[in-house]
Symmetry: C2
Subunit: 119 residues, 2 copies
DNA sequence: TCGATACTTAGCTTCTTATCTAAGTATATC
DNA sequence: GATATACTTAGATAAGAAGCTAAGTATCGA
């Protein structure tokens, strides 16, 4: 299950804004209407709605309109690709350390076998 | 150990670009010079350097100039705040599920104790 | 039906980002 | 010392993001 090329871009970019992260933090405690969500922020509603839309485009939240109220909910698994990339990155790094370790180990064994003639 | 308000912004934003993520992936395998790093990308060097600078500003890489060559290396722990935020977010979410679970459990017990008079 | 509520759309301004080309500086190599 | 290499700086441009106000639409509640 590979993700489309730009998906990670959209996700990381969506997370790169304090307002949007705050929205997600709020939503982790349960769904809320747009107005409810917007209340803590000193921002015009259209501006705020832009953030919600961006989160929605990233697949981090889902919204549904019932009557005149739009309810926003967190999409639980949406962080997975981000975590995935981070984990991969860590694996790469640790793989490198392992190889470095191997290398040093081999080097030391060679020294122990001790021709001792190198400078 | 709390991080400055904008640190997460800068980190997430730095990661929200495919070129920059590719640079990090390459660097996980070991340090490289700017020109070396730039080779796979169809991009003018000044543009490319901009990306390296952004990664450096985010603390994700360190650079050092020796002679005319600037060597770029990964900063290992730099992802920690990102992971941290992601983990927190997950904890919040799971905390919510737990409470939901408690709630449902309590509800079912009440039913079992069965006054059965609520609608 | 009328007013209030909850968005929604449209249009504008400003700032930032991602690019580029052209030209400059500092080292290394011959 | 002349040339080549490896950045580096300095603009210029175009696109995108974040914010605003003003005005519109659709419900809800009395």
């Amino acid at each position: 299950m590979n993700l489309s090329p730009g998906q990670l871009d959209i996700l990381f970019q969506a997370l790169g804004d304090p307002t949007r992260r705050a929205i997600l933090e709020r939503l982790a405690r349960g769904p809320a209407s747009v107005t409810e969500l917007a209340a803590p922020f000193d921002m015009a509603l259209p501006s705020f709605l832009g953030h919600v839309r961006r989160l929605e485009a990233a697949g981090l939240v889902a919204t549904a309109k019932d009557g005149r109220v739009r309810t926003v909910t967190l999409v639980p698994g949406a962080f997975t690709p981000v975590r995935g990339w981070l984990d991969e990155q860590r694996a790469l790094w640790e793989g490198r350390l392992d190889r470095l370790d191997d290398y040093v180990t081999r080097l030391m064994k060679e020294r122990a076998n001790g021709s001792g003639s190198e400078d």
